[in-house]
Symmetry: C2
């Protein structure tokens, strides 16, 4: 199975309102809620692609129960979340008639040292049956900033390929622990390297320790620097839609391609097509299966294989 | 005991953010949540005043469990909420550094006919040990618009004094069922009677069936037309603060005065002081006990007793 780690899981709530106006009262016309946090989104895409997925991370409180009830209704995902005393955070996406989103993200529960230890033990057990692991998203309060670096070292010790998708200091420390893949967006890459030139920044991120760096360029596709070569994957055109979950679809594409031992250009094609198909889907974070099938044949990959 | 009915209970969530800006993403710096819906707020004030209170209404889902856990932590309140299949609604109050609030109110669960019947049976049993009952707030989807009229008739049959605090068509129909007290604000009163002149509108609301009408004039106090006379209660000055829960404090003041058989002027003094002490409290919906004790001696009541 593929393991995804979401230390800061969330109950993602979407509120539809007619027109959001500051300092007034609104009747919410539609409420949608589902399990959230990057690693859970990645798991949903992996499960839809037919992979066996196990999710872990922290879960607690009434919001946590709602997350677990949602996961139980999703075929193909095994719930191995670790219970904590605090409550799983909520994220609220307020969507108005313009289609634009005003987002409120709660910080997440305070994780006690004993809870963090319990997670690390559970993680090590899960890794023993994992073909790959993705470490995704922000850290809840109480988890040490070097958490991902430690989790990467554990995965490397057990020879499980590890992908890291986070930002800021957790990314900086994680990269130094030599993960197999990191997937920053251009902003995260610039913050890590100080360079706003994607190709230079991607190379620089590799020098900092990541074995492969796949930079997400938003609607312009992906840029990858890997031990096997470097490539640029470009969708057939720029798509308009809801970009929520597009980055998580990239992670799912890369990870599924990794465990299927696809060559890098095929992984990048899959990741790019999944990402665009997510932007095109009417529901945030889902991907449009028909669009994915079409786009897979239309992504252009250019680049070159490294000298052996 | 005093019974309060909240058919559309809520999990009230307060999100503090630095500055709310449309169509951007916000980190919530503080999350507060507690049981909400007008009748639960009234019960909290009554319990703080030393009364035995039982709350009923509908509750369901993970949000409902959070409401019930919150009630269990509140001394003096007995939980007699009726379980339903749907989930209790959330309300989200986003408070930014200006102190102003942007409010999002979910509509509430769809109540099935069998659930509405189950509630009516439970309500009748509870009334048999109630000294008074307050019917508070909006109706969730599925509950008939004449619901409060029916609940008022049941209370009158059992000779339990009944206070109604709602708006729109449920208020209009409820008034016609001759409740002992209605407590509209000026907006609700104008909607009911078509008159924006509070004294005229208050008299008109009595003619429509309510035995006593106490109109809440916001920071200007209360206006009461009752079988015993008519009065105006005025706080010593206009208070600035958070008006959330001020109307529920008025209901608690009136109801506690009713079961203690206080004369109307004393009930109005208590309700006005509680309302102002709620506006002054730092936490929305709580009242400042010291301010309440001071204000009780400072409220001015003018008016006259009806000819016998």
């Amino acid at each position: 199975m593929i393991l995804t780690v979401t230390l800061n899981t969330a109950l993602d709530i979407t509120h539809r309102v007619r027109a959001l106006r500051l300092h007034t009262t609104h009747r919410v016309t539609e409420v949608i809620q589902r399990p959230g946090g990057k690693g859970l989104n990645v798991a949903r895409v992996l499960a839809a692609l037919g992979h066996e997925v196990t999710v872990t991370g922290f879960v607690g409180g009434g919001t946590g129960r709602a997350v677990q009830e949602g996961l139980a209704r999703t075929p193909g995902i095994v719930d191995a979340l670790v219970p904590v005393a605090g409550a799983t955070r909520r994220t609220i996406a307020v969507v108005d008639a313009t289609g634009d989103t005003t987002q409120l993200n709660e910080p997440g529960p305070l994780i006690a040292p004993a809870e963090w230890s319990a997670f690390q033990e559970a993680y090590e057990v899960l890794l023993r049956s994992a073909s790959a692991v993705a470490l995704c998203g922000s850290l809840p309060p109480g988890v040490p900033v070097g958490a991902y670096a430690g989790l990467i070292r554990t995965a490397r010790t057990l020879a499980v390929p590890v992908l890291l998708d986070t930002s800021g200091e957790p990314l900086r420390r994680g990269v130094a622990a030599r993960p197999d893949v990191v997937k920053p967006n251009t902003e995260e890459l610039a913050e890590l390297t100080g360079s706003h030139e994607p190709s230079r920044a991607t190379r620089d991120a590799r020098r900092r320790g990541a074995q492969a760096v796949v930079a997400s360029l938003g609607p312009d596709g992906l840029l990858a620097h890997t031990p096997e070569g470097h490539w640029r994957a470009t969708p057939p055109r720029r798509f308009r839609g809801n970009p929520t979950g597009a980055g998580d679809a990239v992670v799912a594409g890369l990870l599924s391609g990794l465990v299927e031992h696809l060559p890098w250009p095929d992984r990048l094609t899959r990741a790019t097509a999944l990402s665009a198909a997510t932007v095109l889907a009417p529901t945030a974070g889902e991907f449009d299966h028909r669009a994915y099938d079409e786009l897979r044949t239309q992504v252009a990959v250019t680049g070159e294989v490294s000298a052996a």
